[in-house]
Each structure stands twice: as C-alpha cells, then as structure tokens.
Subunit: 73 residues, 6 copies
Amino acid sequence: MESPSLDPSLPGVRQLQDWIREHTPLHVQLVDGTRLGGSLQWQDPEFLALRPDRDSPLMLVGRKALAVIRPLA
Amino acid sequence: MESPSLDPSLPGVRQLQDWIREHTPLHVQLVDGTRLGGSLQWQDPEFLALRPDRDSPLMLVGRKALAVIRPLA
Amino acid sequence: MESPSLDPSLPGVRQLQDWIREHTPLHVQLVDGTRLGGSLQWQDPEFLALRPDRDSPLMLVGRKALAVIRPLA
Amino acid sequence: MESPSLDPSLPGVRQLQDWIREHTPLHVQLVDGTRLGGSLQWQDPEFLALRPDRDSPLMLVGRKALAVIRPLA
Amino acid sequence: MESPSLDPSLPGVRQLQDWIREHTPLHVQLVDGTRLGGSLQWQDPEFLALRPDRDSPLMLVGRKALAVIRPLA
Amino acid sequence: MESPSLDPSLPGVRQLQDWIREHTPLHVQLVDGTRLGGSLQWQDPEFLALRPDRDSPLMLVGRKALAVIRPLA
C-alpha cells in the first residue's frame, strides 16, 4: 500500500503486464521458498493474481513476498 | 501503517472485499510458512481479520506477513 | 517509523486497543515462528508492548515482525 | 531511512530511551532467530547500538530486524 | 513501489548500472538463501532483471529480496 | 529507495561512515543468517558496499537485509 498506483513506465511493471497479456506460464518463488506456477491475471501495487490452471480460483500473491518470477523453461 | 486508507479501486482490495462479503472459506499462507484457514471479516491497511470458525475469536494477520491467499479448493 | 501516529479509525488499531483495555490474554506469533503469550499494555506505530505476566517487565515486539495475534482460546 | 527522525512522544522510543539511560541489560531477538545481549547506547531510525559488554565495540542492530527486545529477567 | 524512480546519483544504482553496461557475470543471493547467477539487463525500483544465460528468458528478482550481489570471482 | 539521501546527523550513518574512513574490518550478519566479512567502501540508502579483501570486487549488501554489523573482535 506504499503507492496508490503502479507506474506503467517501469520495466518491471511492463514485463509483468506482457506476461499477463500473453498468458505466459510462469514460475513464482516466494521469500519463504514456496514455489508456485500459473499465469498472471492482473497486478496491483500489493498483489499479483495468479491462476494455477483454467479451472482454479484466483490466488493472491503478496508482491513483497516475491523473490523470483520467470517464464517456465 | 504506510498508508492511511485502502484504495478500493485496487483489484486486490476488491478481491479481498468480495471474499469478505461472500464469507468465502480461505487458505492463508504467511511468509514463515504458517498455514491458516477461515473466512475474512474485514481488512485494513495493516491487518486482515480472519475468523477460523463461527465460535472462534478474531485473529489479526499482518498484511506484510501474507505470502498467498486463495479460496479453499 | 513510517507513520508518525496510529490511525484510531482503523479496525486493527481499534481491535488491539480493545485487547489492551480488556487485558485479554493473547497469543502472538512472529514471522520467524516465535510464539509469545501475554497481555498488551500499549501500541505505537513501531512496537506492541507485551507483558507476559504480572511481575514481568515489558517486552517490545516489533510490529513488522507480527504474523498473527489472537486471544488465547 | 523511512523517517528522518525518531518521535520522542512514541512510547516505544521512550521505553528504549529509558533502557539506554538506565543501562538496563537487555535480551534482543532478531527476525532470523539470532539472540543478542547487552545494553543500548543509542537509537536512531535505522539502528540500535548495542554494547555486549564494557570492553566490546558497538554493534549496530537493524531496527527492521528486531523481533523482541526485553530486560534480562 | 516506494519510489517512482531510481536516483542515478546513488552509488548502488550506478554500480548496478555499470554491471548492466558491462554484462558482468554476477552472483545474486536472496534473503531466503536462494543463489542465482547471470547478468543484469535492467533495474527499476522494484526489480532487477537477470538473464541466466543468452538463451534464457528474463527473470525478475524482487529488489527487497536481495541480500548480496557481487561479480563472479 | 524510501529515502533519496542519507542523513549524516544520524548516529548509525555516522558510525558506518567512521568504519568506512578507518577501513575497520567488520563482521556483517544478514537476516537469513549469512555471515560476511570485509571493510566498507561506501554506503547509500539501499546498499552497503563491502570489500572482502584488497583484491576482491565490491559486493553490494542490501541495507534492509542487515541484521547486525560490528567490528571484528
């Protein structure tokens, strides 16, 4: 909640937005070592919304808990 | 305490608000690996209030400690 | 130290204040997994002051280290 | 570095200042589980300066890494 | 998202920028102990973009999750 | 990146600056338990630059990842 909005000129915000638009399958690693997979639905300043697969409900991932996010190889 | 209020236009705040209104049973994972279950009663900029079951008192969960929050499958 | 004061209109601040006023015995879990028990004496933007029992000195708990706080069952 | 100065009206800042003035022997626990002992020499918004014993050099402890600080029993 | 932009006068931002320009092979350690290797492509206030090798997609590394970053020996 | 500059009136910033000027050999402990040694070259609001020994390249240490920093005994 530090910032009221995302700055679309930042390359990180744009990269995430690209992955959202292209439904890129992603690997997400959190600071506690948790590994998640899925595609991003949206981002806001506090959360990323990850959908593990087509029939799953959205999962909110705390942006501050993100260690690494990358496309599945 | 970084922000004096929540921004209801953010999709994360709205998603949490939907889960509050619909009493959705949730799975909550914290950055230390703790797993909790329950339904959300309210949110503020610092905490989520989780009620594990109907007869339990409220539990405050530090918003900065959130790693993942999702509906129970 | 992000905020010079607590906002008493926030439900989390009010819930903590209720527990302070009522001397509610609490269970406190920190992000490193430490479990503490006691009643709250005061809160400020950086710390909660916890008194484990009547004859113990105050213990300051970093607010950012809070994962869960709830009444003892 | 979020705040340019400490607010001496906060009870946490005052409690730490009391422990500094009285050379109270303290137990300090960090979010990674590290336990330290010593007396506080000063505080600023980023660090606490801890002196483990009379002949040791100062040790800077990151304020954000603090989980618990309390007098030795 | 605390800051809308990076301050190029800071030596840390400049050091990272040097490593980006020179394609320096780097070792990156995160606060959860994860070790990564690669060269930096860009930095923004929230992420570093790391490319593990020439044919890999970019990996976003949360800047707040950084513990140590240094050239490979 | 919370703050555009360091405040040289803070005792923590001054202590670090003394250790930089005097090339004091230091022990650095991070919140994940990593132990590093070396002397400080510079500080900025996000990083400390540590040189493990005379012939090593600089290592950037995230200031938020700092748990303890002290002179080697």
